[in-house]
Symmetry: C2
Subunit: 286 residues, 2 copies
């Protein structure tokens, strides 16, 4: 496996692959690879003839006071993991390579998908994500790019951008990979103390509670969300940012839960922000 | 020459060209081709093995009350002209092909280049331009795209976008093509009455006056702009929108004119808006 740090070299590689008729897959990450990433890399490896894993801690998707500086970085370990999974390239550019002097362009997806949920507490987050993803798709020109469902709102936003800007890239979303107690795998889990790690298990339990309630017929967001909040608040260290139940395709709030229902939460546990979600197919009219 | 109206067919063609190692040039237009476009098409034809002329009246770069509805359209004539110049493809998609239902992404270049000159009277214009150009570059994947200097601010904005989004496309800017009296060729010139057509000649005369003043040593924007305004106002039918003298690379205002100086004007003549500019190399310190 080759580690590439410049746009020029990355583009030359992928141009050559394209010219030779190879299919190309991308797994875009911020590094600090965990089992969730590995599941994306395995799927991407099986799907295409050439596989790029990108590892770039994108500064523009962090807000002031967020954890950009302390975000975990371990490029050697990332390279080892990507090589184990037979990636062809680890693309790990420096920040100045992606945002050189004079850089002044922004890609924005409209407010319906971005000014809700994570976009409320992190108002410039998705603009940072869409701009860097537009750039990565232009540099690497993958036929498919793989994302995890944990960042569900992000997957909708990226799908919108990939279609709207005619990237020719299919966005593939794979299930969240979880710890034994259900906690979603996340690079930020390494920040948790042993006690916080135990407490964090409540997030998935609350989501499973919502899933169960939907399966036995609950259709009212208010009742559902109250139950989820109550379960989360049983762990006093969990500080709730949002708990929502929405149309999973549009992120619209609904009066009656039916169709594909997203139940999503964001919590703070000490200085660490964690998000998770489940999607439940609710037969309409039942 | 082939006329292509769908993104899918256009992409298939250009993917095949790329795979066969062909170089691709694009001349993006809003149709209603005139001699200025023809000079771009000739240069693009000489520069690349495959040549696409696009003709798309982009609704998102027109503001409310502007001339979107009456903008001249004559696709048959455009196809004849493009074929005469041996273009390989005229890409002429319908609006719904470029902006299908649900479209919700915007590409924006920062305010330094866009919130001045044409961007003041047309606040969403450049966002419309950058979004559609990002899409055209993604669909057609040209190695080079050709623009005319008449829309000088646009060329700076598009260069910024093309670099920032890693399009891999070089933006080539060619000199403005003019009528015998110096009026810049423009699709909108067809709107002018005989009398207005005569009056419009004053625009280039005023710009030539500025050029002459710079060449004989004028370095103060105030004096220069007053002379330009005075010349323009000698034609009472010309309604001035802006007259500026700026650093031609950054569009910044300067106290002393030196280096590459842009002198640019926008005027209204009846219902028709006309823009033009000259760039003068002023030896610094002279």
């Amino acid at each position: 496996m080759k580690t590439v740090t410049t746009v020029k070299e990355m583009r030359a590689l992928t141009e050559r692959w394209r010219r030779n008729g190879k299919t190309v897959a991308l797994v875009p990450t911020m590094g600090a690879l965990h089992d969730g990433h590995v599941s994306l890399i395995k799927a991407a490896r099986a799907a295409a003839q050439r596989l790029v894993v990108s590892a770039f801690v994108n500064p523009t998707q962090f807000g002031p006071g967020e954890d950009l500086d302390k975000y975990p970085r371990d490029l050697k370990r990332d390279a080892r993991l990507a090589a184990n999974e037979k990636a062809d390239v680890l693309f790990a550019p420096a920040s100045e390579e992606i945002y050189p002097a004079g850089f002044d362009t922004t890609v924005t997806v409209g407010t319906a998908l971005t000014q809700t949920m994570c976009g409320l507490a992190r108002p410039h987050h998705f603009q940072g994500v869409t701009t860097v993803v537009a750039k990565l798709l232009a540099i690497i020109r993958p036929h498919q790019a793989f994302f995890g469902q944990k960042d569900y709102q992000q997957t909708l936003v990226v799908k919108r951008l990939a279609a709207d800007l005619n990237t020719g890239c299919e966005i593939v979303v794979l299930p969240t990979v979880r710890e034994a107690d259900g906690l979603a795998k996340s690079s930020r889990n390494t920040f948790l103390s042993e006690e916080d790690r135990r407490v964090a298990g409540a997030i998935y339990q609350a989501l499973k509670l919502a899933e169960g309630m939907l399966q036995v017929g609950e259709r009212h967001p208010k009742e559902l969300l109250e139950a989820v909040r109550k379960r989360l608040k049983s762990e006093p260290k969990l500080d709730l940012e949002y708990v929502v139940a929405k149309n999973a395709d549009t992120l619209e709030d609904v009066l009656i839960l039916s169709g594909r229902v997203l139940v999503a939460v964001a919590v703070h546990l000490g200085a660490t922000r964690l998000i998770d979600n489940v999607i439940v197919d609710v037969p309409s009219g039942s």
